[in-house]
Each structure stands twice: as structure tokens, then as C-alpha cells.
């Protein structure tokens, strides 16, 4: 199946327009930096970013791996938390009333202020970073699922009940599959925040990772290497975003074929 999906996701018709824009911006940037003779500490040219990034590829890679690990663990925790909350809320109206306002409130926490505290509390290990990633990504996932479950056609619930189905069967046969499109939309939003969340957590304090790498390079005025790390971050985020489409085609192949749902 995958071999049929990849070409469609990577078709020229989809990839060309954004690539053209990016190329135009890079050329403008390159020309501007050359003509205005900007110091590389202030703004390096794109070519210099690539060149230096390549020269420091070992250091970049060594810091990419821990960031990927943190992202994976953090996002997995976030998925688990989001699913558990959404299911609990779907089964209990009382817990829905109790939890939904708290979920919203959790999103008003200023992560900038919280992250350093997390490091004070939990140290430089995995835990504070996982908490930061979970905090910034569980919300769209939980909300996407809660709304997906709740969007179930009342008449579909009635049909299940007329068949003698209980609440669990209604969930399993109707609410859960019906929420999948909404879940995948939420997943895409969540995953784009996951990598930046990881970088941010590392920026505040870590032993290795792209975030701490950026921080160190910034302190030694290596703007070009900061930007090289930014490029790596962007590539990871886009790749993970694309991956969600692949997973969606594999897990809910019916969704595109019959959009009427």
C-alpha cells in the first residue's frame, strides 16, 4: 500500500508551488546579503548556512537524535493523555463539565514561565521536556477527539440502541470510528507543535539536543549554525506532518473514499 501512497503525497503538483516560493525567498535573501554586505554574525547568507551546516553535520546529527527521542516520548505521552481524557469525558457528563474548563485553563499557562520551573523540579532529564511537549500538544488532540465523539449523529446512536446496544457498544461501533477524521486533523496540529515544544524545552535546559545546540551557537555568535539547526527542525516537522497522512491512509482508508461519512 505504501508504495502507492508515497508518489501521490510527493507529487510534483503538490510539491512544486511551495518549493518555488522557498527558492524565490532564498535567492532574494542571498542577493540582499551579498549586495548590502551584511555581517554573517547578523545575517548569514543561505549558502553559508548550508555550507556551515554541512561542515558541522556531526554535531548537528548528534543533537538531532536526542531531540527526536524527546519528541517521540513526549508526543506518545501526549497522545495517551489526550485519548484517556477524551474517552473519560465522553462517557461521563459530570467529568465533561468538570474537566473541559480545566483543559482550556491548562492552555493559558505561560509555558515560558513554567518550563524553567519544571527544570528546577525535575532536573535536566527527560521528564521536564516530556511535560512541556505534552502540555503544548495534548490539548488539540483531546479536543479533536472530544468533539469528534460528540459529533456523532443522534440517529446513529438511536439505531445502535434499537439494536440493543449499550453505551460501550455505541462508542465502539459508532463514536470511535466516526471521530477518526477529526482525530487526524487534531493529530496534525499537535505534531507540528511537538518538535518546537521539544526545542523550546531543550532551550531552557538540557545536556544535548537541537534546542541547547541553538542556544550555545547563539552565545558564540554563530548565527549560521543557529539557522542550520532551524532548517533541521523544519525538515523534521514537515516530515512528521507528512507521516500523519500516511498513517491516516493506512488506518482509516475509508475516509477519503467516502467523504460523506
Amino acid at each position: 500500500m505504501v508504495h502507492r501512497l508515497l508518489p501521490r503525497l510527493l507529487s510534483p503538483r503538490r510539491l512544486l508551488p511551495p518549493l518555488v516560493i522557498v527558492a524565490a525567498l532564498l535567492v532574494t535573501w542571498q542577493v540582499a546579503v551579498t549586495v548590502l554586505d551584511v555581517r554573517p554574525q547578523v545575517l548569514p547568507s543561505p549558502l553559508r548556512v548550508v555550507e556551515q551546516g554541512w561542515a558541522f553535520r556531526d554535531a548537528l546529527w548528534a543533537n538531532t537524535v536526542p531531540t527526536l527521542q524527546v519528541t517521540a516520548v513526549g508526543f506518545a505521552v501526549s497522545l495517551a493523555v489526550g485519548w484517556v481524557l477524551a474517552i473519560v469525558v465522553d462517557f461521563s457528563p459530570w467529568l465533561r463539565r468538570a474537566l473541559v474548563p480545566l483543559l482550556v485553563a491548562s492552555q493559558t499557562l505561560p509555558i515560558v514561565a513554567i518550563a524553567p520551573l519544571l527544570i528546577i523540579w525535575f532536573g535536566f532529564g527527560l521528564l521536564p521536556k516530556v511535560v512541556v511537549i505534552a502540555l503544548v500538544t495534548f490539548f488539540p488532540i483531546a479536543v479533536g477527539l472530544i468533539e469528534g465523539f460528540a459529533a456523532t449523529d443522534r440517529e446513529a446512536s438511536n439505531l445502535l440502541r434499537s439494536m440493543g446496544g449499550d453505551r460501550w457498544q455505541e462508542f465502539r461501533y459508532v463514536r470511535l470510528p466516526g471521530a477518526m477524521p477529526s482525530f487526524f486533523t487534531a493529530l496534525r496540529i499537535g505534531i507540528t507543535y511537538a518538535v518546537t515544544g521539544a526545542i523550546f524545552a531543550e532551550y531552557v535546559g538540557a545536556r544535548s539536543g537541537l534546542g541547547i545546540f541553538m542556544n550555545q551557537q547563539k552565545n558564540s555568535f554563530r548565527t549560521d549554525l543557529v539557522l542550520a539547526a532551524v532548517v533541521v527542525t523544519a525538515v523534521i516537522s514537515v516530515a512528521l506532518f507528512g507521516l500523519t497522512f500516511l498513517v491516516q491512509r493506512l488506518l482509516v482508508p475509508w475516509y477519503r473514499r467516502d467523504a460523506r461519512a
Partner: protein, 247 residues
């Protein structure tokens, strides 16, 4: 008088201030086909919801063979076909059996046997989106009857179909009904459909609904399209039209 299969006694239902059913009573004999016709919004679907056990009436009772009705009596086919896109057509039709705890293999075997008489042979593994409107309705009906409930509740099953498909479906339903001997309650807007398919037609008044008139249709079964030229057909049609006009 034959022993009644279903006795509906003095049903009343309100939604807050809105009185929808008011002291509604009627009965249905075993093997009888009864249509319910009435103005839009008068409470026909609400009546079916009560029969199917989805809503408690404020007053009144539904008796089946003399005992209070349970959930297991009625096979309910809602107004929308509600075929799920994440299931194949076959697995949509086995839903009720799976919910009742039948093993998936047995459920499939049982439903598959009905695909040919329901004109769905060869579409077992298709997705609902690949079916025509008429086929979707037949699949929804198959999902209802395969549960072996004693009485079928069909809520405007052909309402969304074009008139050619609808006529074909009516003939087909007349045929399979004769073959399986179902007891059926049918909601429809279509007077012709009601006369063609029914032994008896109940005309409901506007909200709050009561049975305003009962019209018996004395035409031999099984019926073919030609029956519409029968004077008794025209007479029943005229009587229903008059009853609806008066309401």
C-alpha cells in the same frame, strides 16, 4: 376478531410544552402491513421512537402479544440509511447481530444469505458510498430484517429516492414481504405507496397526533403495479386524500 400482535394504548408524548402525541391508540394484527400517514412534524417518527424503546412515553403503553413491549420486539429502520462508511456493505448489515453478541463469522453468513433476495449480490465487500440510493435503502432494510425482530418499523424508507426507483422498491418490498411474511409498520408521505403496500392505513391528525381515520385496503395480494388501475385502489386513495385534507 384475530388476536392482535401489537396494541398501542393511549400514548402521550410531549417535548416540554410541545405536545406531540396525545392519547394515541391503534393495533396491528400478526402479518399485517399498516402504514402511518400524516402531516409533516405531527409525531410519526416520535411514535416509532417510542415503539422501538428509544423514548419513554409520558402516558400509555405498548403491548406485544398482550405483554409490555421490550427492546427486542421491533426492528427499527430510521429515516436516514445510516450506513457507516468505515464498514463494508456486508459488515453494515451484520451490525445488529454483532451488537447482539453473535460471532462475526456467523453474523456474516446469516446476512450474506439475504444479499441475493435483496438485490445486493456482489456488493458484499463494497463500501456504502459505492451503492445507488435504492441499494442503500435495501442494505439498510437488510440490516433491519436480519435481526429477526417480530415487527419492522420503517420510517419513510423510500422518501429520498427518485420516483422510478421508488416505484421499483415498492414492488420489490411487496414481493419480499409476501415471501417472508413480516409484520410491518411503515411511515410514508406518499398516499399511493401507502395504498399499494398496506392492508390498512392510519391517518394521523396534526400535532398533537391522534388517529383521525383508518382506511382498510381490500386488494388481493401479492399486488403488482397494475393494481393502481383497480377501482378499489382509486377509492382508497380518494378516501385518504380527503382525510388528509380535512386535517
Amino acid at each position: 376478531m384475530p388476536e392482535q400482535k401489537i396494541v398501542v394504548e393511549g400514548l402521550s408524548v410531549s417535548f416540554g410544552e410541545l405536545r406531540v402525541l396525545d392519547d394515541l391508540s391503534f393495533d396491528v394484527a400478526p402479518g399485517e402491513f399498516v402504514s402511518v400517514i400524516g402531516p409533516s412534524g405531527c409525531g410519526k417518527s416520535t411514535l416509532f421512537n417510542v415503539l422501538a424503546g428509544l423514548r419513554e412515553p409520558d402516558r400509555g403503553a405498548v403491548l406485544v402479544d398482550g405483554a409490555p413491549a421490550g427492546r427486542e420486539t421491533f426492528g427499527y429502520m430510521p429515516q436516514k440509511d445510516l450506513l457507516f462508511p468505515w464498514r463494508t456493505v456486508l459488515d453494515n448489515t451484520t451490525l445488529g447481530l454483532e451488537v447482539a453478541g453473535m460471532r462475526r463469522r456467523d453474523a456474516r453468513e446469516k446476512a450474506r444469505a439475504l444479499f441475493a433476495p435483496f438485490g445486493l449480490a456482489g456488493f458484499e465487500r463494497s463500501r456504502p458510498g459505492e451503492l445507488s440510493g435504492g441499494m442503500r435503502q435495501r442494505a439498510a432494510l437488510l440490516r433491519t430484517v436480519v435481526q429477526d425482530r417480530e415487527v419492522l418499523l420503517l420510517d419513510e424508507p423510500f422518501g429520498a429516492l427518485d420516483s422510478l426507483t421508488r416505484t421499483a422498491m415498492q414492488e420489490w418490498l411487496e414481493g419480499v414481504r409476501a415471501r417472508y411474511g413480516w409484520t410491518v409498520l411503515l411511515i410514508t408521505h406518499d398516499i399511493r405507496e401507502a395504498v399499494f403496500l398496506s392492508d390498512r392505513v392510519l391517518v394521523l391528525s396534526p400535532r398533537p397526533a391522534q388517529v383521525r381515520r383508518e382506511v382498510a385496503v381490500d386488494l388481493a395480494r401479492p399486488r403488482a403495479v397494475e393494481v393502481v388501475t383497480d377501482p378499489a385502489f382509486a377509492a382508497a386513495e380518494a378516501e385518504l386524500l380527503a382525510a388528509l385534507r380535512a386535517s
